[in-house]
């Protein structure tokens, strides 16, 4: 398998091993195009935070960049890699464990185990975080909770019986024509969900920021990427990357740090990134806040 990466690289977080891979060696530049950064017989899709990248192989966890404080806490790190824990931009941490979701105000609260249960008696498949809140996937249903000021990111109504800060179901993602939700992605103020039938839905928005995808609102709506079925989708703070069922990569959004992997200033409509991994199969896309990754399975 191969991992390709592009984008923000201030701490060498896109560089695994090698002589200059220390986070402070020189002043590493960003990558402005997808480059092969890792080859290994097998690994899981990476977890990318602002300053570091973690890749789980069958035998260990590979690491690039500057370790965040939470990386040293192995139980939290493992949950993050499994997408069963997430840290929002405001420092709040949500962790799924043994049938309930715990929330911690900060890493210090987590270390002191000062959390509170926000959702219990549930089976969570995935937790994602955006700047001010979370979404969780449970048996094809989506729960959201977070800061009331950015209620568009909740994708649901906020009322006394369904307050912003308490996990509630996103009703509009139920009973969709192509089945239930199978995967979530989120960052910045944008959230996405993919159905079992490979349709992409998105919601969110921030009143003070330009929209990444035209037409996005507080109510989840289908996103068309040139009529393609969507296999995978990942969201960065200012960009989105999708993998279509034909194996094509499309990107949209800002390219300040090279996160689109394509030499354009910015993409205000879906733009195909050509020439990646010909003759191979792309199995997943991943986004850091300002970077993108492509996981490639080499054809035997």
């Amino acid at each position: 398998m191969e991992l390709y990466a592009t984008g923000f690289n201030a701490w060498n977080q896109l560089r695994f091993g090698g002589p200059d891979a220390s986070p402070e060696s020189q002043d590493p530049d960003d990558l402005h195009g997808f480059k092969l950064v890792l080859r290994n017989s097998s690994f899981e899709p990476p977890h990318a935070s602002l300053s570091c990248t973690l890749v789980k192989t069958p035998s260990s966890v590979l690491f690039a960049g500057y370790p965040d404080d939470w990386v040293k806490l192995h139980d939290l790190r493992d949950k993050m890699i499994q997408c069963l824990a997430a840290i929002a931009g405001n420092g709040i941490i949500a962790v799924y464990s043994e049938g309930s979701v715990q929330q911690y105000q900060s890493l210090a609260h987590y270390k002191a185990m000062k959390g509170r249960t926000v959702l219990s008696d549930c089976e969570i498949n995935q937790i994602v975080a955006y700047e001010t809140g979370f979404a969780a996937l449970s048996a094809g249903q989506v729960w959201t909770w977070g800061d009331e000021r950015y209620c568009a990111c909740l994708g649901r109504e906020v009322s006394e019986s369904s307050p912003a800060e308490k996990p509630c179901l996103v009703i509009q993602l139920e009973g969709l024509p192509t089945g239930r939700i199978r995967k979530l992605a989120a960052a910045g103020y944008l959230l996405t969900a993919i159905t079992e039938g490979d349709d992409l839905y998105a919601w969110g928005g921030h009143p003070g920021r330009p929209v990444i995808i035209e037409g996005i609102s507080g109510s989840p709506s289908p996103v068309l990427v040139e009529e393609n079925d969507i296999r995978d989708c990942a969201v960065g703070e200012f960009h989105v990357i999708v993998l279509t069922s034909h194996g094509d990569i499309f990107v949209i959004g800002d390219n300040v740090n090279g996160q689109l992997g394509y030499p354009i200033e910015k993409a205000s409509s879906w733009t195909r990134v050509p020439g990646i991994a010909t003759g191979s199969t792309i199995s997943a896309v991943v986004a850091g806040l300002r970077s993108s990754f492509i996981v490639v399975v080499i054809a035997k």
Partner: protein, 545 residues
């Protein structure tokens, strides 16, 4: 090639103001690098102070950029060679990394409620901005190979960019940091102001021109704050045009020359103990204010001279009133604010003031510099006003709800309110006693007693923001002064209910007044007030308790 002294010319000869900026920058870069190293060197215990809370990764990244800039300053020679392409590339790389840090940090300002925003993020934003400023200032001062070949457009833009960096740190991050922070930025602005004022003396247009000056400075010219009497613009005052004047129906009592003792007694002995002291218009508060005499705020040229020729950045509210659809906040230069929003007639060649009825540009919305701590941002303007002695009296607590009372302030809270005709502050109340001093132009104010709070139809929480101190009622609409906002799609029963509410509201007693320049309105704690700018208007409010 010019020597360094020739290039900076006037400024260096005239008190070495720019070299002082360079000195301060070199020190700051070194200091920031040292602080970052210290944080990275200690174990993660002292996370509550300084930058540490932002995480080692960002501290390390900032430290690396600080070191680069510090090296750059240390290697400065009396005559710097032009940058080689490699060196220039390195500089632009440092600049990009600083911009990365600034943008990463700015996201935190949104992610947290400002009151919950950890201090470290504000300091990181400020320090990264100081470094960016230092990098840009140093760059613009270098001899450029293209100086002779390409006569660059006005350096004005370069200076505007440099100023913006520091103003954003003041406005967005509050200039945070013990060692540098606001103190450092204020000093840098003071030095830039001196360089600019000195430059003014050359008779050039007010550009921050680091290239060879066209003329030598003539002694005695270009003193701080003195505006060159250029084509009469220096003496021009803001337009007094008043498109609409509402009638005053229940005038507030006016008192001339009220002694401190008499004012305290007014506070202590209300006619009705349940309501507390009544509002008053006082006429002697501005006595001795430079803003009304030697440093006239009604002259655009004076205000421009205090804002680096209008290049400083200010936050303005765009839209008629903060409860309207489409209302928003924007950062623009002070000059843009004056010329585009406050008084468009200023950009006309020279019009006589009798030419009244000048309509503002048709599709320009109203912009209001409202509730801004202008005097923290511009300490020089702070010296143009005096805190009224009345603010040192001890006023009574809130008449009906003691829970609203705030902890006692050490000193009054000052806010500036500067806008064109037609600004509206919707009906609301504040948790302090207020002296609203009218410095320029006229304002209409209407007040409702705190006993009427139930009939004020206070709002609730709106999109996560507490709006309980603001009324649903639009006084201008009820009085027929303004049109009903179009965006309401309400059914007949809503409309009927609305009309009943409005009818009932018309019955509520109120007092009102039009403040003339020099008037001061005392708004007692808890009184609901609606404020409407009639002409170009500049007021200062003093909150105290």
């Amino acid at each position: 090639m010019y020597s360094r002294a020739e290039l900076i010319g006037v400024s260096l000869e005239n008190g070495s103001t720019l070299s002082s900026v360079f000195h301060a920058c070199g020190e700051a870069a070194q200091q920031i690098h040292r602080e970052c190293e210290e944080i990275l060197g200690t174990s993660s215990q002292s996370h509550d102070v300084g930058l540490a809370g932002c995480g080692s990764a960002l501290v390390s990244l900032l430290g690396r950029q600080a070191l680069q800039i510090s090296h750059r300053y240390q290697s400065r020679k009396s005559a710097d060679p032009p940058d080689t392409p490699t060196a220039a590339g390195k500089q632009s790389f440092v600049l990009r990394r600083l911009e990365d840090i600034i943008s990463i940090t700015y996201s935190k300002f949104y992610a947290f409620l400002f009151k919950d925003l950890p201090y470290c993020w504000r300091q990181l934003y400020t320090d990264a901005s100081i470094l960016k400023f230092c990098l840009l200032v140093e760059q613009t001062s270098r001899v450029r190979e293209d100086v002779e070949v390409e006569t660059k457009g006005p350096d004005r833009d370069e200076l505007t960019e440099v100023i913006k960096v520091l103003d954003l740190a003041l406005i967005l991050a509050g200039g945070a940091g013990q060692q540098r922070g606001r103190k450092w930025i204020d000093q840098a602005f003071e030095l830039l102001h001196r360089a600019w004022a000195a430059k003014q003396g050359t008779g050039d247009d007010a550009s921050f021109n680091m290239e060879r000056p066209k003329k030598r400075l003539r002694s005695g010219e270009g003193e701080l704050g003195v505006v060159s009497p250029d084509r009469g613009t220096a003496t021009r005052v803001f337009s007094t045009r008043e498109p609409f004047t509402p009638p005053v129906k229940h005038p507030i009592k006016r008192l001339e020359a009220v002694s401190l003792y008499a004012f305290q007694s007014h506070l202590d002995n209300p006619l009705d103990r349940k309501v507390g002291p009544q509002p008053l218009v006082l006429t002697n508060v501005v006595e001795g204010w430079p803003a009304c005499s030697t440093h006239p705020w009604n002259r655009p040229a004076y205000l421009l001279s205090q804002t680096l020729d209008g290049r400083r950045l200010v936050p303005v509210e765009i839209g008629r009133s903060y409860v309207d659809e489409g209302w928003g906040q924007k950062l623009i230069t002070f000059g843009e604010f004056l010329r585009d929003y406050i008084d468009p007639s200023l950009s006309e060649p020279e019009i006589t003031e009798t030419e009244d009825g000048l309509a503002p540009p048709p599709d320009k919305p109203i912009a209001y510099l409202a509730q801004h701590q202008l005097f923290t941002q511009f300490p020089a303007l702070r010296n143009d006003i005096l805190i009224p002695d009345y603010c040192y009296t001890s006023p009574p607590p809130h008449p009906t709800d003691r829970s609203i009372d705030q902890p006692e302030l050490d000193e009054p809270l000052l806010n500036a309110w500067f806008g064109p005709p037609g600004t509206i502050t919707p009906l609301h109340n504040d948790p302090y006693h207020n002296l609203l001093v009218q410095v320029v132009g006229r304002k209409y104010v209407r007040l409702y007693s705190p006993l009427e709070t139930e009939r004020m139809h206070a709002r609730g929480k709106e999109e996560g923001v507490e709006m309980g101190n603001t009324s649903m009622i639009d006084v201008g609409v009820i009085e027929g002064w303004d049109h009903v906002p179009q965006d309401q799609d309400q059914d007949a029963s809503d409309q009927e209910k609305n009309e009943r509410v409005q009818q009932a509201f018309k019955e509520v007693p109120f007092v009102d007044c039009i403040l003339e320049p020099g008037d001061t309105l005392y708004i007692p704690n808890g009184w609901w007030h609606y404020v409407r700018g009639l002409s170009v208007s500049f007021s200062v409010s003093f909150w105290w308790n």
